[in-house]
Symmetry: C2
Subunit: 338 residues, 2 copies
DNA sequence: TTGAAAGCGCTAACAC
DNA sequence: GTGTTAGCGCTTTCAA
C-alpha cells in the first residue's frame, strides 16, 4: 500500500493537480466548481489520499506542529497542562510535540533549536526561568511562543499562569486566622517567577496582618529533598515557627519530612500548606492543605493563546492569571499554645 | 534573524551546495576533503545554520519523528515511560510526538491516522487492547511499531513489558507465607493483556499453593472508582477474604476505599497488594505493598527496539519481559486469626 | 574530490 | 473555473 499522491487523485478525477489541491483546501475551495470539488473529494477518498505534510510544509512553511517544553513530565504538575494543551491543539488540527528538558538549561536549548529546525510553528514553554537564554533566542527570532506556569523576567511573551499572590494570601490568612504568628515561607528556587511572586506575596500579606516573626527560606529546586533541606535549616535557626507556607506541594512534603525528623507533628505542632493541589496530595495522611491551581485550564488557555498568535499574528503579550482556591484539609490546625 | 539555508553556508565556504550537504552529513562525509569539511562546518556554525528537516524529509522520506501513544498522560504509570522513550529517541536524533487518546478507541484511531499522514517514522503504543483495530491498521500498513506495557492478541509487533506472572506470584506467595488462605484478585479490564496475564498467574499460583478460597473480580477500567466498585461487590458476595491482590496500584487504592467503607482496616483486617509501584504509593499511610515495574526502562527499551526496526529493517517480533520486584511495605500483614 | 542538475509532493501566482 | 509554471530547501545521482 504505497502512498497516494495528489497527482494520482487529480488524474483519477480528470483534473489538473493544481485544481485538485484547491478543491481539497478549505481556504481555496470557493474558487472551484461544486462539481469538481465533489469529484476530487470522491477520488481522494477512494484512493485513500493522505496529504504529505512535509511537502506542504516545505511549500507553505507551516507545519501545524506545536512544541510543549516541560522540565520533567514525571512531575505531576505537568501532565494536566500537557493534556489541556493537547486537547485544544488537536481540535485545531495541530500536533503536539512534547519535549522534556530534564530540568537542564542546555538540554532545553538544544531541544528547542532542533525543534525549530523541524519547522515547529510555535512553542508553549513551561520551563521559564527568570533569566532565560532560550527564551531570549526565541524572542529574537520572533518565534510564536506562549509561557505557561512560569514566566521570565523580560516579559516578552504572553503568559498563562495563576494568581500566585492571591493563593499565598489565602494560605497566610488562613494560618493567621488559626492564630499562627510565627510563620516560615518555604520558597522555590530564586530564578523562577513562581518563587519570586509567592515570596513577595508572603512578605506583603504577613506585614498586612502584622505578623512580625516571619522568615523566608529558599529551596534550591522544586524537589522534595531541596524542600527538606531548606526547611531543616530554617527550623534549626528559628525553632519558633508554628506554620510553614510552602511554595509547592512537593516542597511541603519536604517540609513535613524535616518536621518529622525533629520529632514535630503536623498539624498538631506545626501547620503546613502546599501549593498546586497536585493529584495525589489529598490521599496523603493527613491530606495536604493546599492551593488548587487549574492546571488543565492553564494548558488549554496557553494553547488557545498560541493559536491566536499563529492565526491572527496580532497580540499584545497577554498576562493571564487564573483564579485559585484554598483546599482546607488536614495539615492546618490552630496554633498550639506556647 | 531569518533562517539560514544551506546555499548560504555553501556560498560562505566557497563551495557548491551539494558539497556542503555532503560535508555536513556524517554518512557522506568521507567523500569530501578534510579541508572542505572544516570550512563548511565553520561557516555553518558562524551563520547558525539549522537544517530544514522538512526539505530533508521530503527528499529522503524520513521525518525522524516517532509517535508515542498513551491513554492518559495524567496516569502516573505513563510519564516514566515517556521519559525513558524520549531520552533514547533524542539521543538518536529523533523527535517524540506524544499523543494522549483519552482512553478512547476512536480518538486513538484518528490520532494515529493523522500522525501517519504527517509521515511519522514509527509508533510506540502503550494503549494496546487485546482486540485492537488501530494496531491492525498499523500492522496491515506495515508501519514500524512497538508495543509497550500492554500488548494485543494478534502478537504482530515487538512488545516490551514486564514479567506479570512473576510479579503476581510474588504477591500471592508473600500473602500465603503470611498465612492468608482466602484471597481476592482484583483484576483489570478484560480486554487488556495485563489483566489477563495477571489473572491467569493468580489462579495458577493460588492452585500451586493449595489456596482454595480464592476469587477473581474484574474492574471495568484501571481507575480507582472501578476498583472500588468491583472490590465492594466482591466483598459483599464473599466476606471471608483476608487479602486482596490488585492488578494495579490505583485499583488497590479503590480496594482500600471499599474496605474502609465496610469498616475494615488495612492491613490489620485485610492485606492489600498493588502493582506498578507508581511514584507516590510509598508516601501513603500505610505505604502500599506493591510490585515494582521498571517503567522508565520499558520506555527506553521500547524506543531502542523501534530504532532497531527503523534502521535494521527486519526483526522477528521480540517479546521482552523485564524483571519485577516485590516492595514489602505497610499494607500486608499476617492473616488475622478467625 | 567537487560541480551540475534533477526532483521529492505540494501550493500559489499568474495566465487563459 | 481551471491549467500552467515555478519553486519551497534539501539530497543524490551523474559527470567532470
Amino acid at each position: 500500500m504505497a502512498r497516494v499522491r495528489l497527482v494520482e487523485v487529480a488524474r483519477a478525477a480528470g483534473v489538473h493537480p493544481g485544481t485538485a489541491s484547491r478543491a481539497l483546501n478549505p481556504e481555496a475551495r470557493d474558487g472551484v466548481s461544486k462539481q469538481t470539488v465533489r469529484r476530487v473529494e470522491q477520488a481522494a477518498k477512494e484512493l485513500g489520499y493522505v496529504p504529505n505534510s512535509m511537502a506542504r510544509g516545505l511549500r507553505t512553511s507551516r507545519t501545524m506542529v506545536v512544541a510543549l517544553v516541560v522540565p520533567d513530565i514525571t512531575n505531576p504538575l505537568f501532565p494536566p497542562i500537557v493534556r489541556g494543551a493537547e486537547h485544544v491543539l488537536n481540535a485545531a488540527g495541530y500536533t503536539l510535540v512534547l519535549t522534556d528538558t530534564n530540568n537542564e538549561a542546555e538540554t532545553e536549548r538544544d531541544q528547542v533549536r532542533a525543534l525549530r529546525g523541524r519547522g515547529v510553528d510555535g512553542f508553549i514553554v513551561a520551563t521559564a526561568r527568570w533569566e532565560d537564554e532560550t527564551l531570549q533566542e526565541l524572542a529574537e527570532a520572533e518565534v510564536p511562543t506562549v509561557l505557561v506556569n512560569r514566566r521570565n523576567g523580560a516579559g516578552s511573551f504572553p503568559f498563562v499562569g495563576s494568581d500566585d499572590r492571591h493563593g499565598v494570601r489565602l494560605c497566610v490568612e488562613e494560618l493567621a486566622d488559626l492564630g499562627h504568628r510565627s510563620i516560615l515561607h518555604l520558597a522555590g528556587p530564586p530564578n523562577t517567577s513562581t518563587a519570586a511572586s509567592r515570596a513577595a506575596a508572603f512578605t506583603q500579606v504577613a506585614a498586612e496582618r502584622g505578623l512580625a516573626d516571619v522568615y523566608t527560606a529558599s529551596a534550591d529546586s522544586y524537589s522534595e529533598e531541596a524542600g527538606e533541606e531548606a526547611a531543616a535549616h530554617a527550623l534549626h535557626e528559628h525553632p519558633s515557627f508554628t506554620a510553614i507556607v510552602a511554595a509547592s506541594d512537593v516542597l511541603a512534603l519536604g517540609a513535613q519530612a524535616a518536621l518529622a525528623a525533629r520529632g514535630l507533628r503536623c498539624p498538631q505542632d506545626v501547620s503546613v500548606t502546599g501549593y498546586n493541589d497536585v493529584d495525589y496530595v489529598r490521599k496523603l495522611t493527613p491530606p495536604l492543605t493546599t492551593v488548587r491551581v487549574p492546571l488543565r485550564r492553564e494548558g488549554e488557555l496557553a494553547a488557545e493563546t498560541l493559536l491566536g498568535l499563529l492565526d491572527g499574528g496580532s497580540s499584545v503579550p497577554t498576562q493571564l492569571l487564573l483564579p485559585v482556591e484554598l483546599m482546607r484539609r488536614g495539615t492546618t490546625a490552630p496554633a498550639p499554645a506556647r
